[in-house]
């Protein structure tokens, strides 16, 4: 099971220390955001990573579980092995037509 998790620390330096060796998946690029309560990052964590991060919590460090990522099987069901474009479908976009 995987969760999206928001991790916050008082400073960028402490956020790095907090995450060091945690095994957290920092996503595409490790983007951190300055917010009122400190520096935050949204990451992906499994149970072990969550436990590690929870154990390291201290003053100024916060950990908020946002949501579960869902069942991997359900996500692979969003894809198929058929090639719809060999069966007569044509590629289409999602822009609405605008007549000038």
């Amino acid at each position: 099971m995987l969760w999206r998790v928001k991790v916050t620390a008082d400073s960028q330096e402490d956020l790095r220390r907090y995450l060091e060796g945690s095994g957290a998946d920092l996503g595409c690029r490790p983007m951190a955001f300055r917010e009122a309560e400190g520096i935050s990052i949204v990451l992906i964590a499994d149970r072990e990573t969550l436990d590690r991060l929870s154990a390291r919590r201290s003053a100024g460090r916060r950990l908020v579980r946002l949501e579960a990522l869902g069942d991997p099987k359900a996500r692979t069901a969003l894809c198929g092995s058929r090639n719809r474009f060999l069966k007569g479908e044509r590629p289409r976009g999602y822009g609405e037509r605008v007549d000038s």
Partner: protein, 377 residues
């Protein structure tokens, strides 16, 4: 079944090229993927070829980010249908008139490489949805084989991260078993990376480059290597004097970014973020790619670095656009993210045409304010 599989992406490009031969050219890339899959790009515009001012858009570098390849197929279908049907396009509240689209196709070549990492996409869509890297097998020397290089740490820009950066400053790994950010055995070692490099070399008039990812909405720009400064041209990734010092925030080393480039990069980022935000009200932030950590070997920095490393090469403004909040949103989320990417890319294309027409990149421009509070630090 809502996402395109790799065969469908391949077929979609072939069908679009067949249906619109006057307006696009199918480009087979020189390298097949590690598992032998052929790779295609499509060049679109009334004028096409290596000398035509070009915007290069890529997607699917990270396998688990399923939306960008679908979005890039969609925008190709939209543009070609608008041009042949002589109509404009609307994405949420963002409108591009037929005249604007025609001006883009007259003044610019858009080269789209929707799925850089086909093996990774197949593996992610059939076996492990969280798979990010390509599928290079690599022995570890102890009888174990691990798979995959992070293509977005494999480009030839400060690739040797242990030499270039301060310890612990960079998001990269030289461990082939690292599930996310293994840099590969050498710079640009991967056929998937080499295909992107080939496009930049072949379309040598490329001046704008966007690599589409997900899933924190925002537009990222130079540099990912360190914070930036515009006064000391000696502080660059090329200068070995600063090896081992890069990547730490708020110290004396900052990567050189000429002031006029910075202004233009920020202006374009702001316009892209604004148009993506306007589609559905989801706020796209913007800022330098250097955030919590430095990044080495990333595509956007590589594209922009090329003219510093070799003055014979054209200057390319490189961007990374991340869409949405999930790697694999449901159907509605996918559609919204596709529209955001399309609005963003057509906005950049419109600006690129203006830049070509009036050479506005040489005009002093005022950097727009970042949008809201979601600016990367």
């Amino acid at each position: 079944m809502i996402y395109y599989n790799y065969d469908e992406i391949h077929s979609a490009l072939q069908l679009l090229a067949e249906a619109h031969p006057g307006l696009c050219t199918l480009q087979e890339l020189p390298n097949r993927s590690h598992e032998g899959r052929p790779c295609l790009a499509l060049a679109v515009g009334w004028n096409r070829g290596p000398e035509v001012p070009t915007l290069l858009a890529i997607g699917g570098v990270h396998a688990r980010e399923w939306v960008p390849p679908d979005a890039l197929v969609s925008i190709l279908a939209d543009i070609l249908s608008a041009a042949s049907g002589r109509h404009g396009l609307e994405y949420g509240g963002v409108v591009f008139t037929y005249e604007q689209i025609e001006a883009i196709l007259e003044g610019l070549q858009i080269v789209v490489f929707p799925c850089v990492n086909p093996d990774g996409r197949v593996y992610s869509q059939t076996r492990d949805p969280m798979w990010r890297k390509n599928r290079r097998p690599e022995g570890t020397g102890v009888g174990q084989v691990c798979f995959g290089v992070d293509i977005n740490r494999n480009f030839d820009i400060a690739w040797a991260f242990k030499r270039h950066f301060a310890p612990g400053a960079v998001s990269a790994s030289d461990n082939p078993c690292d599930p996310q950010v293994y840099t590969g055995p050498s710079a640009a070692s991967e056929p998937e990376t080499q295909n992107v490099v080939w496009l930049l070399d072949h379309y040598r008039s490329t001046q704008w480059f966007v690599d589409f990812h997900s899933a924190i909405p925002g537009v990222l720009h130079a540099w990912g290597l360190d914070q930036t400064q515009s006064s000391d041209a000696a502080q660059t990734f090329l200068n070995p004097q600063y090896d081992g010092l890069r990547g730490r925030p708020d110290d004396s080393y900052r990567e050189f970014l000429p002031a006029d480039d910075q202004a233009e990069i920020e202006r374009l980022s702001s316009l892209m973020a604004e148009s993506a935000t306007q589609v559905a009200g989801d706020e796209y932030g913007l800022g330098p790619a250097f955030a919590l950590y430095a990044t080495s070997g990333a595509s956007d920095d590589y594209a922009y670095s090329r003219h510093f490393a070799n003055p014979d090469k054209a200057k390319v403004f490189g961007f990374t656009v991340e869409c949405g909040h999930e790697f694999q949103p449901d159907s509605d989320g996918r559609t919204q993210n596709i529209r955001e990417i399309c609005a963003c890319l057509l906005t950049l294309a419109g600006e690129a045409v203006q830049a070509g027409r009036h050479d506005s990149r040489r005009r002093p421009v005022v950097a727009a304010e970042p949008l809201g509070s979601r600016t990367a630090v």
